[in-house]
């Protein structure tokens, strides 16, 4: 349910950025969403559509790159990617995984239309 708060944070951050480019219209906001970030992409898309109304970003959309949980096994050094829990090394079976990716909740870029 916190996707609406996340959508508002995205809009505020983007508005800050857009103020540096006068007269430009934002077409797309590019996000990177990790599978462990606690954000559900569909819910975020829906929340964004609602939250963006009556702001200077009205008419823009979000584009999401989903980042899987990835990590390195502390026992054998294998690089692993996880679609599901548990986080277990596929090479040696260890649970000692140093997670490197999956928590992302980033604005990567904005696409603007110049006047």
């Amino acid at each position: 349910m916190h996707e609406l708060s996340i959508a508002e944070a995205i809009i505020n951050s983007t508005l800050d950025e857009v103020s540096k480019h006068e007269g430009c219209k934002v077409e797309e906001v590019g996000l990177r969403i990790g599978t462990l970030s606690g954000v559900m992409p569909d819910a975020l898309e829906f929340a964004y559509e609602i939250a963006v109304r009556d702001t200077a970003l009205d008419g823009s959309r979000i584009s999401m790159e989903i980042v899987p949980a990835t990590g390195i096994c502390s026992e054998c050094g294998e690089s692993c990617s996880f679609e599901m829990t548990p986080f277990i090394c596929l090479a040696c079976g260890s649970f000692k995984i140093d997670l490197k990716g999956g928590y992302e909740l980033d604005i990567a870029y904005i696409r603007i239309e110049s006047p």
Binding site: M1, H2, S13, G38, P86, F87, I88, F95, L105
Partner: protein
């Protein structure tokens, strides 16, 4: 013509800035700050009632009690002996954020404090996204919830430093297996400390206090 502008900014960068400020303040003042998370009804408030009642003469403790509605939890904690307890009613929001905590702590003198406990809203998803400037997250689960909880909510269990398995007095009333919950939790987070408690019988509570004492000492040392 359209063009792409690189931003590379965290969505919650403002929250993270405030959380970092809070964390600095706590470390400087030697305060152990804990963010307690769980699903609704796991026993966060019961655990804190015990803690306040038993440790109030040993440590100066402050509590921020988050809830979607009512100040029931805060009132229970005051009754249990809490000297500084602030309710934080979110009015529908499913999580606490760093700004709410900054505001709640406005008139608190950190110099005299040993331990700050933030009781988050009962929810294992949304609060995991919001850093509250804590030293560590404490995740509480309870026997009736089932032993696969850590696998279902990996984000929260990976980000926590200690897991408390509460309501151990109910072991044997369902197919919950202590061995299985520990295995599941450590398959998400191999460094997780695990403490078994029952707030009804008092079993395991001393171990929790031991954990608190150890970390309060550790944080004090850092501030010196």
């Amino acid at each position: 013509m359209s063009k792409e502008i690189k931003i590379e900014k965290k969505v919650l960068s403002e929250n993270e800035r405030l959380a970092a400020e809070l964390r600095n303040k706590m470390v400087l003042n030697g305060v152990l700050s804990l963010n307690i998370v769980s699903s609704p009804g796991a026993g966060k408030t019961s655990l804190l009632e015990n803690t306040l009642s038993d440790l109030k003469d040993e440590f100066k403790i402050a509590v921020v009690a988050g809830d979607v509605q009512t100040e029931n939890d805060a009132n229970r904690l005051i009754k249990a002996g809490g000297e500084w307890v602030r309710p934080l009613v979110t009015g529908g929001s499913c999580h606490l954020d760093a700004r709410m905590i900054s505001r709640a702590l406005k008139n608190l003198d950190l110099k005299k404090l040993d331990l700050l406990i933030i009781e988050n809203v009962g929810n294992l998803v949304c609060p995991s996204s919001y850093d509250l400037g804590e030293y560590m997250k404490v995740v509480v689960i309870s026997v009736p919830e089932g032993d696969d909880k850590p696998l279902k909510y990996p984000g929260m269990f990976k980000r926590s430093g200690v897991m408390i398995v509460n309501k151990t007095d109910l072991l044997g009333t369902s197919d919950f297996s202590m061995k299985e919950v520990k295995k599941n939790a450590r398959s998400i987070n191999s460094d997780l400390d695990i403490i078994e408690t029952s707030c009804s019988t008092g079993e395991g509570i001393e171990e929790w206090y031991g954990w608190l004492r150890k970390h309060i000492r550790r944080v004090r040392k850092k501030s010196v």
